[in-house]
Point group: C2
Chain length 340, copies 2
């Protein structure tokens, strides 16, 4: 695409200074709310600023100060439910801390080829980076994170040497599985997320261990790709199997697809089959039937990611203690004791 031609520049400190009849430095002092400026002078400068429509040039400031006061945010799938919420929280927290957010979306050009953010990161004006993508995407992207650039990883595997902030997937999956067992179900089936997702594998492993620690049979895992469509397709197998009385779906969207499959097979929920989801997206309370699910606190995850990054920015020390945000089980109408 075309590159824009140069635009005429806006008014600078010098323009304001000329109009107000003072030096640039005085204007700078006023602009930065420094003390030691005569009230009259300040008013004159302020008036001049308003007249010429002055606004400080961020680039010049960043150059001078050696800081951009901006955080890069590398995301792959912007529109997945969790990322959206986390992004929201990151935006809020960063803004509150006086940092801007620089979105660095990974372009999924053509076929799985992940490029974009990392090459662009090279020249992005950011002080640090928060990475909000799954591990395998990070691998595919031929990461070449510049040395010395502070980084915080959200929701990913632990095999990078960066601070990590994430939901406590294991605890959540245990909550879900135990809830179903406690209701009296013999065992719990699992509609898992994609193999490539670290979050999915942690949920799966925890489900498995919970079953094992109670001496239950571990049924084969069915795998979806997080989408409601995959939940529906895979869910048809579960719906057709009369053995199945309890299912833990790795997210709410797949749980929704599963509910549909069960409805189509005329299996009563929770009479014949109980279902638990993961996420607690707003709409889960209005699924039919309302979904019992594991609530994630994306807001906390985002907020703590920003906090961790700012600590790194300020101290240049890594706090490699991973931050784990606990979940909460929300019980609704989709779960009940097994019939008979």
């Amino acid at each position: 695409m075309e590159v824009g031609k140069l635009r005429q520049r806006g008014p600078s400190i010098a323009d304001v200074a000329r109009l107000a009849g003072v030096s640039g430095q005085t204007v700078s002092r006023v602009a930065n709310d420094r003390p030691n400026v005569d009230a009259g002078t300040r008013d004159r400068v302020l008036a001049a600023m308003r007249e010429v429509g002055y606004r400080p040039n961020g680039a010049a400031r960043a150059l001078r100060n050696g800081q951009f006061r901006s955080i890069g945010l590398i995301v792959f799938e912007l529109s997945s439910f969790g990322n959206t919420r986390t992004l929201d929280a990151i935006g809020t927290a960063a803004t509150a801390a006086g940092y801007g957010i620089n979105l660095l979306p990974l372009l999924d050009a053509d076929q799985g080829k992940v490029t974009g953010a990392f090459s662009r990161l090279q020249e992005q004006a950011v002080d640090g980076v928060i990475i909000l993508i799954e591990a395998h995407q990070l691998d595919e992207a031929e990461i070449h994170l510049p040395e010395g650039l502070p980084v915080v990883v959200v929701d990913s595997s632990a095999h990078y040497d960066y601070p990590i902030v994430d939901t406590d997937q294991a605890q959540g999956a245990r909550l879900a599985t135990e809830h179903l067992l406690d209701l009296g179900h013999e065992t719990v089936w699992h509609l898992g997320g994609p193999e490539s997702s670290f979050a999915a594998s942690r949920r799966r492993r925890s489900w498995e261990q919970t079953l094992l620690s109670r001496g239950r049979v571990v049924p084969p895992v069915l795998v979806g790709d997080w989408s409601a469509t995959s939940g529906y397709e895979v869910g048809r197998q579960l719906a057709a199997d009369p053995e199945v009385t309890a299912v833990f779906a790795a997210n709410d969207a797949m749980a929704l697809g599963l509910l549909r499959a069960l409805h189509e097979e005329q299996r009563a929920i929770p009479g014949d089959v109980s279902v638990v989801g993961f996420d607690d997206q707003e709409s889960a309370a209005h699924f039919w039937p309302p979904l019992t699910t594991v609530r994630q606190f994306f807001g906390d995850v985002g907020r703590r990611a920003v906090e961790a990054l700012i600590v790194e920015l300020d101290s240049h020390e890594h706090h490699h203690q991973p931050v784990s945000v606990p979940t909460e089980l929300v019980i609704r109408a989709s779960t009940a004791p097994p019939r008979s």
Copy 2:
């Protein structure tokens, strides 16, 4: 919150130049892929860059060039379905065009007090701005958009003097209403969005006009706030009224709440009541029953917003012809002819 102390600066062109034994200008030429550099020299410079871990300083570039190659994006509610998708598309389109995205979230501090983006915009390093919030929020925010800053407005009222890009709400609402009438329903009820939303009022007006132009009775409008919860609460009234045989909900989330209310009242869908939504979020196909809805092309909206902004950036001419992106009716199982 604390402000970070100064960080040591990264290596600059000068460092690379020293190491490679050339002038800074030559390094600059290599960095910018300019021709007229000896192959050997280029290699030497590239090696030096790699060694010191050079990456160009965005701030210095921006200062020099008078351009930031960055677009500000003012958003209020990041996590609403439509905004999310639009944001995704904007990110992709902007990145493809070589622009970065600067997120400027509006902080909803305390009680409806909207601040943040606009004051910060003053000093943000952006070439132009895309506004992605509803009109009334814009009003509350005491806009003071700097003169001469190119702006494009998405999904808002027309009373600002900026180019507008939006979904063709009227066409979509007409599609939904006509579909229900064509099935043979006497009239169509409407579960509308909040008064303050311009999109909601356009959908509502179009629904009303479609009914009037066919000589049908216009039932009273019930109003929600876009959330599934509000759809459920308001929907209970609709579900309790045997007169109601067809409902057009102003978005899918409220339609979901309505479906739940209808299930609870044991009203068959679509046997007793037909429902149409608006948005076509991914999960709508897996609601129970799968939801007939009006598909919005958020991707196109986002892409065209970026295009419109870039035109403005390049030409400094406004193209005040609003861009209207058409919708598409997706017919699923939640609509059928009325019983009898």
